[in-house]
């Protein structure tokens, strides 16, 4: 009786894509090894039966060498062999390396069906694979698929139940490679090809001079795209919609409620010079949606567009190679750049992605650095919105402070945190050019996830703050914290509330600074502090899950210390 279907294969062969096709469950896929760090589960209808499908993180062999691989292998081993079918997904353009795991799975006696993915790619790379011959040699069914377009998936579902176990003798690893060499020799034919432009570009992007030049262009272009595309959306879509369409409705509501009522205080907030001000009124229907939709969302969209594009093309692992030397100084290796980049979108997926790092020490360092020094898009958008109108110099200043902080903290942690940081070892995928539909789907998925996660917290946060303000409940805390906030950081008492709200969401917190009428220096300090002080609650929860309580406490005390030091330094020395 088959109870589960496992998807297993080398990293970056498109397992998640096959998973999405089988189950209809949308998961994030990208062109670098280690995109999937957790387990995704879904269901697939096979002959009128709903069977659970489990997508496992990629692994090169059944003897794991990283935490993500460990997870994959241990889950597989829990299941009795006669209750599971394994869909072993292979990258058809790299048959040889992929067959190592395939043979191991077959030797162990698992019922295996081989899914030869990316078959469309083999054609324009001049690779021909004799599939019937391959089936004959390894003794299990082989189906050619292209998960990106969906071809072959139907056949795969039809033949899942024909997967048979062909347990056989386990050879030594060297002998297994020899067997693989013979198999590949007899089933694969390569057309002789000259180097294509793509291959030349692939090699150039990991060589020192050309690679660094290319990365400078990519980073500069990405940053500017995010900024200009975000700004354009705000100026031409969001602001007009809010001011021309939404504002008249709110004005009527405000008139109907009467400016002194409690409900008006909650929904509309305070009137500024007798009118609703989206940036300062601080109501659930005014400032809350304005922050999320007109200040943050445009940047979230443009950021995730660029990130998804770079991910799918396969540029990120090359960036990892270029930055390896630099990241070594902080006890990390090149691959840590991927969690960091994800962290710029939202710290939560960034910290989850640190699972691809092998040692606990690396994960602690990377998670701490991300939660302190990597501002998420919502926070960055608000900093741009708030400080950008004074001068780009201040925005740059915040980034400079954060960067030097990450650098110095990283070097300190590298010297003090016990444990080891293993060497860098990463497979570099070929450049691939994803269809636009795929990119659009991923973007939609990420933006939706952002809104679903952010909106309830934003609305709840603003509601809570308004109730507290109305009944003067913040006064005790503000008075208590005043010596630190005022004495050390030079901020007005009201900023305490904003920093506290930063625990819920950073964008709302910056939003709460808007009505305070701060000076540029005060804005600069509070924005920087919001970035470096404790992360939002969602990040805290993942930190706890990923690092455990002890490491979280360690990480948190570092954060508190850093906040105090940075705030005081900025107030008394740098900006004095």
């Amino acid at each position: 009786m088959i109870k589960k279907i496992f998807l297993i294969g080398n990293p970056n062969v498109g397992k998640s894509m096959v998973f999405s096709r089988l189950t209809g469950v949308q998961v994030i896929s990208a062109n670098y090894p280690g995109t999937t760090v957790g387990i995704s589960r879904g269901h697939c209808k096979i002959k009128d039966e709903n069977i659970e499908v489990v997508d496992l993180p990629g692994t090169y062999s059944l003897e794991p060498t990283s935490k993500a691989e460990e997870v994959a292998v241990s889950i597989l081993k829990e299941q009795p062999k006669d209750e599971a079918v394994i869909i072993n997904i292979l990258d058809a353009t790299n048959l040889e390396r992929n067959l190592f795991l395939t043979l191991q799975l077959i030797e162990e006696g698992y019922p295996v069906i081989v899914c030869l993915n990316m078959c469309d790619d083999t054609l324009h790379r001049g690779i021909h694979i004799d599939i019937p011959r391959l089936e004959e040699l390894i003794g299990v069914p082989v189906i050619a698929t292209c998960a990106v377009t969906g071809s072959g998936i139907k056949l795969l579902i039809e033949r899942i139940m024909s997967a048979g176990s062909r347990a056989r003798l386990k050879p030594m690893h060297r002998e297994r490679w020899q067997q693989i060499g013979e198999i590949v020799q007899s089933v694969q034919r390569l057309e002789h090809r000259h180097h294509t432009f793509r291959e030349i570009l692939e090699d150039a992007s990991v060589r020192p001079v050309s690679g660094l030049a290319l990365s400078a262009v990519v980073v500069y272009a990405s940053f500017n795209f995010v900024r200009f595309f975000g700004e354009a959306m705000i100026n031409h879509i969001c602001d007009p919609v809010f001011h021309k369409l939404y504002l008249p409705i709110l004005e009527r509501l405000s008139g109907a409620l009467g400016p002194e009522s409690f409900l008006h205080h909650l929904l509309i907030g305070d009137l500024v010079k007798g009118a609703i001000d989206f940036k300062q009124s601080l109501g659930m229907l005014t400032t809350a949606p304005y922050i999320e939709f007109a200040m943050v969302l445009p940047y979230v969209i443009s950021f995730y567009f660029i990130l998804s594009l770079l991910e799918d093309i396969g540029y990120l692992p090359r960036l990892a190679v270029l930055l390896d030397n630099f990241l070594h100084r902080m006890g990390l290796h090149g691959f840590a750049i991927i969690p960091v980049l994800l962290g710029f979108g939202c710290n939560v997926p960034g910290i989850l992605a640190t699972r691809v790092l092998e040692s606990k020490r690396e994960r602690l360092i990377a998670s701490t650095l991300i939660s302190i020094g990597v501002p998420c898009v919502p926070l960055q958008a608000m900093i741009f919105g708030l400080l950008g109108k004074f001068s780009g110099f201040y925005v740059l200043g915040v980034y400079l402070v954060l960067f030097s902080l990450v650098l110095s903290l990283g070097m300190i942690l590298n010297r003090t945190v016990k444990g080891f940081s293993p060497e860098f070892m990463l497979e570099i995928p070929p450049y691939r050019f994803p269809p636009v539909s795929l990119l659009a789907k991923k973007l939609y998925f990420r933006v939706k996830a952002f809104l679903v996660e952010a909106m309830p917290v934003v609305l709840g946060g603003v509601l809570l703050v308004n109730i507290f303000l109305y009944f003067h409940l913040f006064d005790i805390i503000t008075n208590l914290c005043a010596p630190i906030i005022k004495g050390l950081f030079g901020l007005p008492k009201g900023a305490v509330v904003a920093i506290l709200i930063g625990f819920l969401r950073k964008d709302v917190a910056v939003g709460m600074l808007m009505p305070l009428g701060l000076t540029v220096k005060q804005l600069f300090i509070s924005a920087t502090l919001l970035a470096v002080s404790f992360p939002c609650i969602a990040t805290f929860v993942v930190l706890l899950k990923e690092l455990g309580l002890r490491a979280l406490l360690k990480s948190t005390s570092i954060m508190i210390a850093v906040t105090l030091i940075v705030g005081t330094l900025l107030n008394f020395t740098i900006l004095h």
Binding site: N94, R97, D203, R207
Partner: protein, 77 residues
């Protein structure tokens, strides 16, 4: 024929792996990725003097940290 490590090899040169000085998990990972004694490889490039080394093995490209690269001995022409 001379025997040198991957780190000392010139970019764009071909060689055959003659010895792997790593042990334990690292050796294991090499093996499961198809990096083993007797295998032919091509060095793609290297970042600075102590940066990661990129090699092509069959149809795969791998980047190895510098000290890892020093543990793989190759024979070049």
């Amino acid at each position: 024929m001379k025997k040198i490590s991957l780190a000392e090899m010139d970019p764009k040169k071909k060689g055959r792996i003659v010895d792997i000085l790593a042990t334990g998990a690292t050796a294991h990972k090499f093996m499961s990725m198809g990096i083993y004694k007797g295998r032919e490889i091509t060095k793609v490039g290297q970042i600075a003097f102590t940066g990661p080394v990129t090699i092509r093995v069959g149809r795969s490209v791998f980047a190895l940290g510098h000290s890892m690269a020093k543990k793989i001995m190759v024979e070049t022409e």
